[in-house]
Symmetry: C2
Subunit: 313 residues, 2 copies
Amino acid sequence: MRKITVFCPATIANVACGFDILGLAIDNIGDTMTVTMTSHKKLEITKITGADLPMGIDENVAGVAAKAMLKDLDISCGFEIEIVKNIKPGSGIGSSAASAAGVVYAINELLDRPFSLKELVVYAMQGEKLASGSLHADNVAPALMGGFVLIRSYSPIDIISINSPTELYAVVVHPQVELKTSDTRKILKKEVLLKDSIKQNADLAGLISGLYTNDYELISRSLNDYIIEPLRSLLIPFYDKVKLTAKQNGALGSGISGSGPSIFALCKGEESAVKVKKAMLKVYIDNGLNANAYHSKINDNGVKTIKDEVLQS
Amino acid sequence: MRKITVFCPATIANVACGFDILGLAIDNIGDTMTVTMTSHKKLEITKITGADLPMGIDENVAGVAAKAMLKDLDISCGFEIEIVKNIKPGSGIGSSAASAAGVVYAINELLDRPFSLKELVVYAMQGEKLASGSLHADNVAPALMGGFVLIRSYSPIDIISINSPTELYAVVVHPQVELKTSDTRKILKKEVLLKDSIKQNADLAGLISGLYTNDYELISRSLNDYIIEPLRSLLIPFYDKVKLTAKQNGALGSGISGSGPSIFALCKGEESAVKVKKAMLKVYIDNGLNANAYHSKINDNGVKTIKDEVLQS
């Protein structure tokens, strides 16, 4: 039988002005997952290291995503799943998405690709539904497809890959605090001012335009969030200070990664990203709060195979 | 002395999902304007044909825009302005913008271009302020710069030219009804639902992406307006029927041009545009309502000089 190990990247959803519709994949932080095809028709999670997560298929995002996918296939084999979590659940950089995207990608590879990447997104979304209660794709789509991704519509699903400049780097700083998903939701308002919605639209259009034209200055001017950040940032310690520090150290812009507490920044070039990362991290260290920090080029590939073995049976 | 005649194109603002931030210039309909440089320091509107508009400098959009511009220049000459209006005031295709954009462009040419096009936009906006009470650029910017234009910010002013596919055509149908600007404003709500704002954002990002990647299908899927159209379309006779007819006849999509009553459609190729134009127009004719209709390639140039004469003094 065959066994495949994949790297499942972390992802940054929302990206300032793109609440609920934009996401991007990063490279230096992610889970690995090994899926083994077996001869008996059984789906099983055999091992999880790095996080305390449920092993039951129906309780685990990878299990749910894999099960949804296999329901649409008439096959007699089964799969054993081993997950090594490096992305801490609840960090705001797509921990559940990495597991959901990784497992559907790996099974699809083992079965010689019956599904397209966009079809895999739909199965992976089932995992996200278990994790967050809603079918959303702004982490699983970039995790599977790489790069910047726009979720234009859910009904019908319409996912667009957006160009991104080659020197664009992302920084993520994850302060070690826990946010309740219910709190990050409750703090949002159901209505927004039309004038704020127009400003946000203008920046979103500017960001997309800047990404296509490799215009770092335009990307920088457009990385604003008038709707979500003013509310959710209240839940993240030292948010304003970290954001200001990022900008002062040369970041193009920054914002909340997903629903937080991680904060992302975008930078032009690796040197700038390293400088921004250190400066953002220092804010937490100086204030006695533990934090992790990463920097990475935008990951243009998404989930990728790192080992593919044929086992002697 | 020198005398210059310019063509001032009509423009479509908003473009479905881009309320207040997007505009585009068209080609087959527009005003002409002749500006003569004189030796005495006086600004004067000497003739207006085609519409009943005030001739006083401070009461006319072209006068106000020209005056704002000249205030920043230390010159001893003056200008006489003749305007031939083909764009009916109140039609929703940038009648006032054409006058404001045309005059600042012509004077700038006569003075050997002391200002950039983007600087001219700011002067032309003063004319718009007289016409509508607010400084907006979503008609004057495309009128001056051509093509698709994004107004990312007003403070500071930030105007971005967006790519558009070469086979993209616009259709405009103008039913001969009068809308009061005050009514088209009053009908808008100050707040919008967050979920509608997200849907609109997603389509706007899709539209911008489609424009850069020449993806007509994506442009078509993205031409939706969940926020303004449901309200303002109530003021336009047979709106739903005209929109449905446009789609059934192959338009990529359609919407309200500016604040109406004109309705625009975007099409791929001239043949499609002609078919859509005829079908949209027929809805009004069949219902006993007068209407004008135009089709045009997207105008990539904006205002342009059509005659440049040096007079014997």
